[in-house]
């Protein structure tokens, strides 16, 4: 399959990239890992006249924890997240997530910035970032701004990024003591998108009650879904079976899946319930270990 012809640009700095994107407007597509864009171009579902490859811009690939924030450069590859010692040791929800995205070959190119900017409701990072309460940093010709992730996903394949704006960084609050998270995804096989998946992040008080809870859902709606009622239901409660079951039911009620080859609406809704329960238990177990 051969994509339609396009003009290729490889800016060497962020300023060049934003100037170029401002000039080209709707005609241009940003190329990061290319693992979503190139398949779409090969199928001619996307035929941008201009492609702006940002891989040559230095300083967009890093994983740094400082001042209570884990900052991740947009061009960081999934495989780099997976291999990162900080991510493995301190951000188990993120570690779980990057390991189940696509397959190991795709993960060597696919970037975290592309995963969020693409805003496919089937992408896995969006729910994880919602559960973690992340922020994204966007950069356009007139400078930089920060957006809370909760207002980032505006529709299927649509984000709050202005045309020509680049996503340059993802910022995750560093976990408090007694915090833990987990990502549970059911996929039919390696490399498949989720039938459904659930991200959960918990911070417990010293008495074991929930101080803070983040719960979000993948591929069961037109956008990733933050299960706000399920989150609220946990606050101040100890995680006994009844509390977990109630949160799982509320998460399931928040899902809006469509029937497809992966399953019926009823099946997917029940799957959200089951996966939420498992993710909460795992998150609590991990939180308990990190006093």
């Amino acid at each position: 399959m051969i994509p339609a012809a396009f003009e290729y640009h490889a800016p060497a700095s962020l300023d060049d990239a934003t100037a170029l994107l401002a000039r080209l407007g709707e005609e241009a597509k940003i190329l990061s890992g290319g693992q979503s864009l190139i398949p779409l171009m090969k199928l001619r579902l996307s035929s941008p006249p201009h492609v702006v490859d940002i891989n040559g811009i230095p300083g967009l690939s890093y994983i740094r924890e400082a001042d209570g924030v884990l900052a991740i450069g947009a061009l960081t590859r999934e495989s780099e997240l997976e291999e990162s010692e900080i991510v493995r040791a301190r951000y188990p929800l993120l570690h779980d997530t990057c390991k189940v995205i696509a397959d190991p070959l795709v993960r060597n190119l696919a970037t975290i910035g592309g995963n969020l900017a693409h805003a496919d409701p089937a992408n896995d990072h969006p729910a994880t970032m919602l559960a973690l309460g992340a922020e994204v940093v966007a950069r356009g010709p007139s400078g930089q701004r920060r957006l809370p992730i909760a207002s980032f996903f505006t529709g299927p394949f649509e984000t709050a990024l202005a045309p020509g704006e680049l996503l340059v960084e993802i910022r995750i609050p560093a976990p408090a003591a007694r915090s833990g998270g987990a990502y549970f995804k059911l996929e039919r096989k390696v490399g498949d998108f989720a039938t459904a998946a659930v991200a959960a992040q918990l911070t417990l008080r010293s008495d074991g009650a929930v101080e803070q809870a983040g719960i979000a859902l993948t591929n069961v709606g037109l956008t990733p879904i933050k299960a706000v009622q399920a989150e609220t239901s946990l606050r101040g409660k100890r995680l006994d079976d009844a509390t977990i079951a109630q949160a799982a039911r509320l998460a399931s009620a928040a899902s809006e899946p469509a029937a497809d080859l992966r399953g019926s609406v009823a099946y997917k809704k029940d799957l959200v319930r089951v996966l939420t329960g498992r993710a909460l238990r795992k998150a609590a177990e991990r939180a308990d270990r990190r006093r």
Partner: protein, 158 residues
């Protein structure tokens, strides 16, 4: 556009359209036909090559993106007429039938063994999970990688 790249240690140059996929540069322009095209939809891994040492799907990259980069293809495994231990492993353990997936399996296996000299079966299975084999099955492919790991360890010990 002019691209310059190194493949298996050898410098290559070509004039390409930006839309040319890396796999077509490798196979059709440079005539290194060891790298295969299977699905052409980023699923099978038959087109796997190493980009700066990491296995990637060359059907899902533009040739222009490889400008200035160093690549390795399956032709780079054999040295001075001698097969690489991984290739020997695939022969010894019957790791291929039709051979369609084999170049990709070999490149993924090669990069993997470089980082994991004493792999477990599970680690091998995860590593090759982006490479589909539709006829041999994975049992013998896993054995072939284990065979190569053992040979490489012996070589290193000597």
């Amino acid at each position: 556009m002019r691209v310059q790249l190194s493949i298996n240690g050898e410098k290559h140059e070509a004039d390409v359209e930006p839309r040319l996929l890396l796999v077509h540069l490798i196979r059709d322009v440079l005539r290194l036909t060891g790298t295969h095209i299977g699905c052409d939809t980023t699923h099978c891994g038959a087109c796997t090559v190493l980009l700066e040492g990491r296995p990637v799907k060359s059907c899902t990259m533009f040739a222009v993106q490889a400008n200035g980069k160093s690549l390795m293809t399956v032709e780079g495994l054999e040295q001075d007429g001698k097969l690489h231990p991984l290739q020997e492993g695939f022969m010894a353990e019957h790791g291929l039938q039709c051979g369609y997936c084999t170049p990709g399996m070999l490149m993924t296996g090669y990069a993997f063994l470089g980082k994991h000299p004493t792999p477990t079966e599970d680690e091998i299975r995860v590593a090759i999970s982006g490479n589909l084999c539709r006829c041999t099955g994975y049992v013998n492919i896993v054995k072939a990688v284990q065979h190569a790991a053992a040979t490489l360890r012996e070589g290193a010990a000597r």
